[in-house]
């Protein structure tokens, strides 16, 4: 590549600054990715060892179909699946396979782990995503609303409801909602993602899915909602008391503009931080709700694989969730640097 000599280049101001920033950024990216890879390796080793230490015999899961009962057959299965080899060898083999993109075979379903997991990702993302987005929007607005009227009764009511919502176990909320809105007033279905007798059209199918989504998404959302409304209230109260907000009021700006344009923007930073962390848990955060509503996602699959001792499947789900958390953390970190210049300056200095 030919270097073009410009006045700026000659003075050495622009390019060196840009190169420096890109270099730093690159170094940070590479560093974070390396750290994520080593973390993933640690996750594999730890989960593998923990699952190996769990009581029970995996040959039951493998041989379930053919009714394995005698020691010789069980031993043959152990040899076939490499379960007779030392743990360290098993881990090494597994890591090697994972690096090649092979998560192994499900003991119970006799299909590849990936083909068991893949159809479960979208339902889980749909459930967690709808719950999270709904909760963030509603929670933030509720927080702002109560922060503006901290001493009013309605504010206290919202606070109490939030705390109660946060404190209630999700399976309990789920069951109460099922009893109320699926049994006593049968507006929504009890569980599953689709009806047994739904028509073949896309829109009919989508509408049916949405109808099934309401209760589980609401159940999951209630927990998130409580968190966000509390967080945004606290953050908003702090910001509303700051000098620049007072200045904005003094300038004669409309209260709505001050709150939503000046204050909320700064108050959002902790919310984005928490959102980033929770975004990483989109794949793994809905186990209980999925189990209660028989939602065909990764959470219920994980639960079943534990019950059935389907170790490769469980490992696959855990690794996918861990990878998602790590990627989400890296992405959040960079988004964070973009929206808050102070962080960028502090960290690159």
């Amino acid at each position: 590549m030919t270097m073009v000599s410009t006045p700026a280049a000659r003075t050495g101001i622009l390019p060196s600054a840009t190169t420096g920033r890109v270099g730093t950024l690159l170094r940070i990216v590479v560093g974070r990715v390396m750290r994520a890879v080593s973390l993933m390796l640690a996750v594999i080793v730890v989960t593998f060892v923990l699952l190996a230490l769990a009581p029970g015999d995996p040959t039951v899961a493998i041989g379930g179909d053919s009714g394995i009962r005698d020691a010789a057959t069980a031993e043959a299965i152990r040899v076939e699946y490499g379960l007779d080899r030392p743990l360290i060898v098993q881990i090494g083999t597994y890591v090697g396979r994972v690096l090649r993109g092979d998560f192994g075979q499900s003991f119970v379903l006799h299909q590849s782990v990936w083909s068991a997991i893949a159809p479960r990702i979208v339902p889980t993302l749909m459930l967690s995503g709808v719950a999270l987005v709904g909760a963030v929007v509603a929670g933030t607005l509720l927080g702002v609303f109560t922060a503006r009227r901290p001493r009013k009764v309605i504010s206290h009511v919202v606070t109490v409801v939030s705390i109660v919502g946060f404190a209630m176990p999700s399976f309990w909320i789920g069951l109460i909602l099922i009893i109320l809105f699926a049994v006593t007033f049968p507006i929504f279905p009890i569980g599953n993602m689709n009806s047994t007798m739904v028509g073949g059209g896309f829109f009919e199918h989508a509408a049916d899915t949405l109808w099934h989504l309401v209760l589980p998404a609401f159940t999951l959302g209630v927990i998130y909602l409580a968190q966000y409304s509390r967080l945004s209230r606290a953050s908003m109260l702090e910001v509303l008391g700051s000098d620049y907000v007072r200045t904005a009021h003094a300038k004669g700006l409309a209260p709505r503009v001050v709150v939503y344009k000046h204050a909320l923007r700064n108050a959002l930073i902790p919310i984005v931080t928490v959102l980033g962390t929770q975004f990483g848990h989109l794949l793994s955060g809905a186990v209980v709700v999925e189990v209660v509503f028989n939602w065909p996602g990764l959470g219920s699959l994980a639960y079943q694989s534990i019950q059935q001792r389907d170790t490769p499947l469980l490992l696959g789900i855990l690794l996918l969730s861990a990878a998602f958390v790590l990627v989400a953390n890296i992405v959040t970190d960079f988004i964070y640097r973009i929206i808050d210049p102070r962080i960028r300056i502090r960290r690159t200095m």
Partner: protein, 548 residues
Amino acid sequence: MTDHILSELAPLVRSVSRRNFIFGLGTAGVAVALAGCGSGEGSGGGASDEGTPQPGGTYIVGTTQVIAQANPAIGGGAGPMMIGAQVFAGLVLTADDFSPEPYLAESWQFSPDNRSVTFKIRGETTFHDGTPVTSEDVAFSILAVKKYHSFKSMFAKVTDVEAPDATTVIVRLSEPNAALLACLTPATAPILPKHIYGDGQDLRTHPRNTQDVIGSGPFRLTKFEPRTEIRMTKYDNFFQPDRPFVDEVVYRPDPSGNTILLQLQQGEIHSLRTGDSVQLQQLRAQPTIEVADKGLQAISGVGLVVVNMENQYLKNPKVRQAIAYSMDRRYILEQVLGGEAAAADSVLPPIDQFYSDNVTKYSYDVAKAKVLLAEAGYPNGFSLRIDYIPGVREFCASMAEYMKEALKAIGITATIISSPDTATLAQHISTGDYDVYLHLSLGYGDPVVGVHSLYESAAIGGPYPSNAPRYSSSEVDDLLEQAGQEMNLARRKEIYAEFQKVVSDDLPVIPFAQYRPRVAYFPAVVRNPNLGVWESLSPLKDVWVTAP
């Protein structure tokens, strides 16, 4: 083979029970209790078969099982049997009185020495891909089941299966087998298409066990997603005219079972089978649900305390009798088993066709038990271990706890050992490294299949749970051999009665209750549900629904 409960048919109820065990009242229990529109009235048994059958509609079966594959020829328990009985035909079906009735076979004839049976199968019958069903397919299937199925005793005596012409099948036996016809149902010996499964691949891992499964039964498998939905559509060329009635059968798995009772209550599913007393009581309390108290004999049995007869204390018959006297049957039935189980003093359940009441009974008598222990030389008792796996909760875990207390009352100190799964328990049992353990003994349609090997001395040391008590009695060996070969039903019943009496005297096992799952269904929609010996492990060709 003896009772395959824990690895075979146990999934039928185990997952439901385990779910209750884990979630306790926290989930389904609370859900139904809170839904609480129960009247508290029990529902009577029996099918609602009034009215003219109405063709069409969808029958939805709820299950807590994850059914891994659809070919029952390789075993795998109740799940594959349920699906297989719809997709595949069998030579015979089992009538309510346990007698075989023609299905794919039109007729059959035993040779005078009962060492061969000639079947005439229906002509003009086709598999779902249009290929005719021939005697070659039947011969292939019986030999495949003999080779791959874990119920080895079903066809152990079959030496060959011949197909002299397209509709004739001759089964050759090394000696008479009174249980042969009972083993030829679609759930136990499905007729497989040889042109698909006879391609040389190992049947246990054959890809067509889960995808594009072809049989000649009343329903074609159209969707097989074990954890979400299994869907079957009526086969238009099914060999029985005007059957099946429903257009579709759908299995909806709910492996956690949290809301499965509510789904039935609301009619989102139409039927459900469970053996858990808590669930049964909740179901009985719902006015929209009918609990049927009939049928299911093939998948019922007895709960047993199995005794290791090689144990230094337990080999003494007086000690075994003392343990039997220490058990308060009424308390067990009412409290431990939740009031849903019937009493059983024999090793066969009262609902079995071969059940005999003429057995030695051990009524609750702690004083007598203590005297017997003293006479045996253990006035101060001793220590022993009680093994179980958390399968059917009440019959295993709860009974283990009860036994510990019952034994304590007569001076025996017991330690409970819970194994996480069958393989772990099997290691203790088959090596004789146990003292007593809780066991469910199921019949599977005939004692030859489910019961014999628990008591045959030749089965000692065989795969779990073959002769787990390590019981050796030449009298019992003779009786079982005779019963297995006796073709006269009345005489066979006499032999089994004698067997039950001898075992009740020798006490290698102590029966405590009948184990019997029930079918609950949604009567507003369901008519004529399968309530026979095999329940929904037989073809759902006669059930019909009133809703689309």
